[in-house]
């Protein structure tokens, strides 16, 4: 289809304790899509993202970002982990967490300065959290914590964003705010890969989708492949959703 491939995964296999979590995944994600990864619990959605990002070590397989190995392209990639993966009682402020997004480009030892602080404040403003910049992170609501994580990734100014369930446990206002930011990023030509749970909102939010259940079931444009057939194959039960036209 003539588009550049942003992320390419070849023969990726990951196992915990001899049990395969991901089996022989081949995946090509074209540049500029807003893609959902859907699948039941334990399907390996988070594992897929973590293996692409080198957090988990796969048994086999390789990942390339714009045709080069991931290790050489780190600066092009940003990550939004599940917000439950950290201890929010850590003694620090919202601004400080967002500043962490600049640490990668700073590299070892160098301290963040005015330029980095400015970037962090801009990111906070984009997610509507500027007035909370000095707030202790343990005093933020779940939705606010999620926005802080999003802001931290925005600061990285990457081309490709991986997000692990950014809508989990947030209220409707935050969900709309986040999806608007994601759509804006796509408009700016960024590629977004999002682990997603709410099947009802897939057609509304995303233009690309990957069905995953240990193996890759299907990947492609939402309008072509988001159908009952693939849902049934992925979730194992006779699944019916009304696909909006």
């Amino acid at each position: 289809m003539g588009k550049k491939i942003a992320v390419k995964v070849d023969d990726l296999t990951v196992a915990y304790n001899y049990k395969p979590v991901l089996w022989d995944i081949d995946l090509e994600i074209p540049e500029g899509v807003l893609m959902a990864i859907v699948g039941p619990n334990g399907a390996g959605k988070s594992t897929l993202i973590k293996s692409i990002l080198g957090i988990l070590k796969p048994i086999a397989g390789s990942v390339s970002i714009y045709g080069k190995p991931y290790e050489k392209q780190r600066k092009l990639v940003a990550y939004v982990p599940q917000k439950g993966s950290v201890d929010w009682d850590f003694p620090t402020t919202a601004l400080d967490v967002v500043m962490m997004g600049t640490y990668g480009s700073l590299g070892w030892i160098k301290r963040p300065r005015q330029k980095e602080k400015k970037a962090a404040l801009e990111a906070l403003e984009k997610v509507g959290m500027l007035s909370f910049k000095n707030r202790q992170i343990n005093q933020l609501s779940g939705g606010q914590q999620q926005r802080i994580f999003l802001a931290r990734a925005l600061v990285q100014n990457a081309s490709i964003y991986f997000m692990d369930e950014p809508f989990q446990g947030v209220d409707a206002t935050t969900e709309i705010a986040i999806i608007n930011i994601l759509k804006e990023l796509r408009k700016a030509g960024k590629t977004l890969i999002v682990v997603h749970h709410d099947l009802q909102t897939v057609p509304e939010y995303f233009d690309w989708v990957t069905f995953l259940n240990v193996k890759k079931i299907a990947t492609g444009p939402v309008k072509d492949i988001f159908n009952d057939d693939n849902l049934t194959k992925t979730y194992g039960i006779n699944y019916k959703v009304s696909v909006q036209e």
Partner: protein, 394 residues
């Protein structure tokens, strides 16, 4: 063993014996003039500072028990170093402790990453295995016909009185290096402590940062063995950090506070043990540090139990008041004149009111009482209608 120790401590503090009743001023003068006391005070202060600093990292990484495992794992190293050299030179013994402490630490890491065992199991296993082996070696050494063997067991509970100037210098140098590394890699340490996975994706070598932190923790623990001993060493790591966490929400302030608390515990603990002749220094230092912890748990303004309880009671009282006010608002709403008087009896249907709450509402100028009738004021009505409006007041 106790007898030996008493004799030893009495000898060390001979200058203090002369006048048992000493006031604070005299003691402080003595700290500066008496060589032994000065050495011990400085040593325990530096030790408290460095363990407090590093302890903050252990506590925030939820590795509180690591310190305990490391200090126990150091014991066989001390025994083996003695068996090899046959001498009681403290630097050699500490080198042995360092090596076996590091081996224990990396075994723990190995067990966690290579098996399905959880970290608490791995810590417990290594702790008891190494400590058991260390005790075995100690009893073996004691049975040997070597006059030199006495006193190795001081590493179990520590003996501050044996500190000499060179020990304090070693502590100071290690603390200096530790502080330098801490400042140099501050950004990386903070990032790793908060979010390890994210640290990896930014391209930092998390293994390197982790090993750096852990090695310094091992080093600090080994330095403290002579003073505080294997058994109590982990308290030096945890207590100042746990106390410091109560007072601040900033990592840098927490680390600084923990260092201050630790140093203070060392100084005060030494003072108490020096002026009360028979108390051994290590346990007293640990007890002083625990007093810091208890005080902090109770009196810290934002996280302390006392203020939490006070806030809870105040909230409950406010809520009682708000409930009554909201009920009045509900009634008053139905009248054109919001200040139309109603019988107090009406409130009987609703169990939330007492004479006390009514009086408080009057005091706040929300309600006017006339005989057995009440009426809302304008101000009371306005407050009541905004009560549960979340967007206005968080």
């Amino acid at each position: 063993m106790t007898k030996q120790k008493n004799i030893c401590e009495k000898g060390k503090y001979s200058s203090l014996r002369r006048n048992d009743k000493m006031d604070l001023k005299e003691y402080i003068e003595l700290v500066f003039s008496d060589y032994t006391l000065r050495t011990i005070t400085l040593g325990t202060a530096i030790l408290g500072a460095v363990t407090g600093m590093l302890g903050s990292f252990a506590v925030l990484r939820k590795q509180s028990l690591l310190g305990d495992a490391i200090s126990h794992a150091a014991l066989p190293g001390i025994a083996i170093a003695f068996l090899i050299t046959g001498a009681k030179d403290s630097n050699t013994l500490l080198l042995g402790a360092l090596i076996s402490g590091l081996i224990g630490t990396f075994w723990i890491r190995g067990i966690i990453s290579k098996t399905h065992l959880k970290s608490d199991t791995a810590l417990g296993l290594i702790l008891s295995l190494f400590f058991g082996f260390g005790m075995l070696l100690l009893t073996y050494i004691q049975k040997q016909p070597n006059a030199n063997q006495a006193g190795l067991d001081k590493y179990l509970f520590g003996q501050a009185a044996t500190l000499v100037e060179s020990d304090v210098w070693l502590m100071a140098i290690v603390t200096g290096i530790c502080l330098f590394v801490l400042l140099l890699f501050w950004k990386e340490f903070k990032l790793l402590l908060f979010d390890e996975d994210y640290t990896k994706t930014l391209g930092f070598n998390t293994k390197f940062i982790d090993i750096l932190i852990t090695s310094f923790i091992v080093l600090a623990i080994v330095l403290g063995l002579q003073t505080v001993g294997v058994v109590l060493m982990s308290a030096m790591l945890l207590a100042p950090a746990a106390a410091a966490r109560q007072w601040t929400n900033s990592l840098s302030v927490m680390v600084a506070l923990a260092a201050i608390f630790g140093a203070f515990s060392g100084v005060v603990g030494t003072a108490i043990s020096a002026s009360q002749n028979n108390l051994s220094t290590g346990p007293v230092i640990v007890l002083v540090a625990s007093v810091f912890v208890i005080f902090s748990f109770i009196f810290s303004p934002s996280r302390g139990l006392l203020f939490k309880q006070i806030r809870f009671i105040k909230n409950r009282r406010d809520l009682q008041l708000h409930k009554t006010l909201a009920f009045m608002h509900q009634i008053a709403e139905n009248h054109e004149d919001i200040s139309h008087p109603h019988a107090i009896r009406i409130l009987n249907n609703f169990h939330g009111y007492t004479k006390g709450t009514l009086q408080k509402l009057v005091d706040k100028n929300y309600v006017i009482l006339q005989g057995n009738m009440w009426s809302l004021t304008q101000e009371g009505f306005k407050t009541a209608s905004n009560l549960y409006n979340q967007t206005d007041n968080e």
